[in-house]
Symmetry: C2
Subunit: 131 residues, 2 copies
């Protein structure tokens, strides 16, 4: 039973936080620089509580940090969890790159098989003509 | 209101499917080759219905496909949605790589400032001695 519902891990927390277009749009905005919650809410035409809810999910995943001391409490993007997603993807990236390499090798093999035939054919024809 | 609850998009669907350690483990297993649901269930010590539930989420996100014709209905990893996550990450990867580049440039600048002072100093001293 406990295996069916494993405790939340950091990568799952990150992926879950990213699984929302508004939260990804907030991150995209923050990648341009620190900003306040009010500034963040503007382009999304969302209420402040709605934005705050999204920010809480992002903060819990460590994707953003909020300065506690400054009065305007700016939000800042923290790329570390994204790097972890990138690390996780690395093996799969290798997989599809290897698939591409194999496809490329196969195509080259086909071309190599083709080339002698093409260059040999006119020669054979010529020989044929001479004969 | 509708902006607060946007309709599910493909990337969100993928990220949500990946936000579970068991589902990621299933994908890791499938990256080694096609397999049946029974074989998949074994290492996870999970019931078949529990595995089937996870497979449905993965299938809905397009991360796996299941052959309908073959009697043993093998599951197969489909890397396309992972490539989309990789594409989405690209801008952020650039961001932290640029940060590293800037840090490197700054360190080089510091070293460059250090080096002439060290090599110039004895010269200045010499000139001073001559005067």
């Amino acid at each position: 039973m406990s295996l069916n519902t494993p405790p939340p891990d950091r990568l799952s927390l990150t992926l879950n936080a990213l699984a929302d277009p508004t939260r990804r749009a907030i991150l995209a905005r923050l990648s341009l620089g620190e900003t306040t919650v009010n500034e963040l809410a503007e382009p999304f035409e969302m209420s402040l509580p709605a934005v705050s809810k999204h920010l809480k999910v992002l903060e819990r995943a460590g994707l953003i940090s909020r300065t506690r001391t400054a009065q305007w409490r700016p939000c800042k993007l923290e790329p570390e969890p994204l790097k972890e997603v990138d690390m996780w993807l690395r093996d799969y990236r290798k997989m599809w790159e290897q698939r591409l390499d194999r496809l490329e090798a196969y195509l080259k093999e086909l071309q190599a098989k083709d080339t002698p035939v093409q260059s040999a054919k006119p020669k054979d024809d010529k020989d044929g003509d001479i004969k």
